[in-house]
């Protein structure tokens, strides 16, 4: 961490501290992890944009079934490639200090596969498929599961979850904060 101290000016660190949920030391630690993904490019230019496959080498993301969506959501250029700032943003949202509503907002975006601001049954199907991994639930079970979910969460009966409905349900789930967290 001593080496990367010289990469950022004090002003930049203060900036990042104000804009994210990290302290200065944590920001430097995040930078170190970022640098490990592609040491040459990042040492040359700290604002280098790393490709999606390089980002996905991060151990926490490598096994995550939603890794593509995560990269997509946090990438500022919307193509999956991330700069250090995007990476810092992502880690800040997943950190312990981020409040629940921020996490809920990003969780909604991650699970909204087609980016239409609603989680429709197609989105849900994708989510469940990604969750079960190699084995896929049969069609009938999937439909039953989606129906159950809509029965629980869809308040106005329109077959998809809007953000308000999603937030209403998820903020009540006690395990959400524990599971939606990446420690660095």
């Amino acid at each position: 961490m001593g080496g990367s101290q010289s990469v950022f000016t004090e002003q930049e660190l203060t900036d990042y501290q104000e804009l994210t949920y990290f302290t200065k030391k944590e920001i430097l630690h995040v930078f170190k992890r970022f640098q490990q993904l592609n040491p040459d490019a990042v040492t040359k230019d700290k604002n280098a944009k790393l490709g999606k496959d390089e980002i996905l080498e991060l151990p926490e993301l490598k096994v995550n079934p939603f890794r593509d969506r995560i990269c997509q959501v946090f990438s500022s250029s919307k193509d999956g490639n991330m700069t250090f700032e995007d990476f810092l943003d992502m880690m800040s949202v997943f950190s312990d200090n981020a409040p629940k509503n921020v996490k809920v907002e990003y969780a909604f975006r991650i699970y909204d596969f087609d980016e239409d601001d609603m989680i429709s049954s197609k989105d849900l199907k994708e989510v469940v498929d990604k969750l079960t991994g190699e084995q896929q639930l049969p069609e009938e079970d999937m439909q039953q599961l989606i129906d159950n979910i809509f029965e629980e969460a869809d308040l106005d009966d329109d077959d998809s979850l809007s953000f308000a409905e999603f937030e209403h349900v998820i903020s009540k789930a006690p395990d959400f904060v524990n599971s939606f967290r990446i420690r660095l």
Partner: protein, 823 residues
Amino acid sequence: MMAEGGHDAYRSREYIPMSTINPGYEDIHGYPSDSPPNLPPRGAFRRDNYPHREYREDDLEMRTEADLPHRGNYGTSMSGNGSGTGGRNWAREETPRDTAILLESLPSKQLEKLASEIAHGNSSVRRRSSKRRSLRGIHIPTGQNVSEELIQHYQDDPDAAGLDDSELKAMTLRMSDKRRIRNEVTLKRETLKRQQPKLSRWKQFKYNLSIQWRHFKYSIAEVGYFFKLWRGHLKKIEGHFGSGVLSYFLFLKWLFYINIPVFILTFGFVILPQILYEHLGRGSSGSTNTTFKGWELLTGSGWFEDTELYYGHYTNTTINLVGDSYYNMKYAYLFTCGGYYLLCLFILAFSISKSYKKNYIEGSGAADFYYVSRVFCGWDYGITAKNSAVLKHVGIYNEFKEYLSGVKKEEEEEDLSTRCKWFWIRVSTNILVLAMIGGAGYLIYYVSDVLLSQSIKVDILILNEMAMPLTVSGVNLILPFLFSFVARFEAYKQPKNQLYINMTRTMLLKAATLGVLVYFWYQRLETTVLCRETFIGQQIYRLVIVDFVFILLTTFFVEFVRRLMKENCFKSWGYPEFEIGRNTLNLIYSQALCWLGTYFSPMLSLIMIIKLFIIFYVKRFSVVMNCKPSLRPWRASRAHTIFLSFLLLFYLLTLGAIAYAIIFLKPSEMCGPFRQHKTSYEVVVLLIDSWKAKYPVLVDIISFVSSSGFIAATLGVLLVLTYYMRIVMVGHKEMVKLLRDQLLMEGRDKSYLLNMLQTAHKKGSVGVRSPGGHLLSAGSEASGEITTSPGGRQFAKTRFNSGNSPTPTRQRHREGSYGAASP
């Protein structure tokens, strides 16, 4: 305004299927709603494709197909969801675009528009209040680029108080956007500040104070970074096993942190003065002429007997080391004891209330949100190991399969005889369990008694002294396995219930063993032992050490040896799994022992710290080397609350035991700080009496506060408050339920009305004006018709001019809408 050309243009595309209003819509068979081929593709309704979204009358030419209301959610109003389609019936039909435009003009949609326009700083909307509207909680829809509007919003703010720190962090935007917003706002604020007259002194002071406070918080956070003990280890465990196993280690770390201030308190106020007194002062300790042999570490007697380890060693004098200051050891001992118990009480109460609030109150509806939490909170983002991820996938798949098959199965209606049978089975197993606990208690009592009266003397080395702790630990080890064996006969429907029942029984056993021991010590030791407290301290010390040894041994055998055997001999066995419940309960028991013993043996908290430290490393290496992640999910947060409540229960029990000892028991004559007093509590009484001369007011206050009337009144008030809160909670729950039903009904109402509108349209007999005064459907003249709704109300359609009024009027009220006439 509908120009004729425009009219023809959309006539050809008259029916707009649902998917254009709801891009995510698919009907029940999973097919996307069939759309005419020339519809814009999905995603064309994103707001950044279109320059503006306000409702402006003169721009109707722009309102092409693609300009239909985007189905996003702008504000926090839930009732404006989508285009208010209720239910699948509605969705399957096709809606004409007029209806769609009418939908746009619904009051609830207007509310959404208002919220979104405020969020995006549109200056055409008059602000209702001068207070700055907080942006927190306003959802920024996917794909929107709202930074411009946000900057505008903040800059227009008359208050110019600047961005709140937490608000900036909570904005869900890209970092570059956030930075830009902050810079622009700060810039604007600076210019404003220069233009305005100097801020008043008070405001400047407040402003500086807030900046100082913010810097202070940051520096505290920096320092706190150093105290992340064991961070790398915890991360490794989380990566392999997920948050369930991690919760055990976090609990261990938390207990470790609690014991540190307890030890510092006792060391600073009790142990250190005693040491100084012995070595520097005029007092002399008892002779320690016994040599140190190794096994004393186990028994705590012998060389240890007359050291600071035990109560008996402490002096009862008033130490006078430096000049004129006096240090009264009695007060120090007693008040330190009270002090650390109070400290632990505060920490425990605070933790448990925080945990309860998080998991039970906020999650109280979560019992209903079963599937949602399984799906959306199902994946543990902390997992980093590949095989753990694979196992997690399998676990999730199994869970879904299991619960879905449970849903399909019919709920078996249990008739009276089966229920009776299960009832009697459960009663008998509970009686069996209680009998086992009773037997264990009696055994422990018998062993202690025998050892005390020395009626049976065993000559094997230290078995004499260690027999009691060995019995206790053995009982605590074997009986829980018997309990889970017995519980299998009870066949609880949910595995969760079985787990909780097992845990309760285990804790009952441990509490019973401790209770029997405490009873024995308090009742039987008066005549036989010289220094009772030291004896009790020794017993507890032995219990702690034996408990520690047993934990190490069970870890070794259950995890390490089993893995070796699985790999080399019994290939069909499964890998060992880390048992979170059993291990956490052991930790709670150890901590209870520590709390019980610290009064009799002040250095016990140091021993506890060392013990926890070693256990952490042993468990951590054992779990990573030997165990495999479990397939069954572990609901960490609910379990955490339950473990905390067990801990609190044990704390209260130990507190009761110690309070009884202090208040009612006669301290030993020959040792300890309270010799020659009737009870230890007498010291306090004497102290208060001594104040009678000097501070009579204080004495009066104290006697008033401790009078039974006052205490009863306080308790009564607290009970009433608790009852009130509970009533309020029940009321809120009912309210939530009512509102949910109401919401559903509103959705259905809307769909019903739109249906009616639909049918009216199809008849083509009505021209309906939108709020802007535009005629929505060209058609023949309206005729006056009266339709009757199923509810019996009559709707009269009124007449307008037909079709093609060229000039839009600026009327804002709804012209020509249906008027309802009551029957």
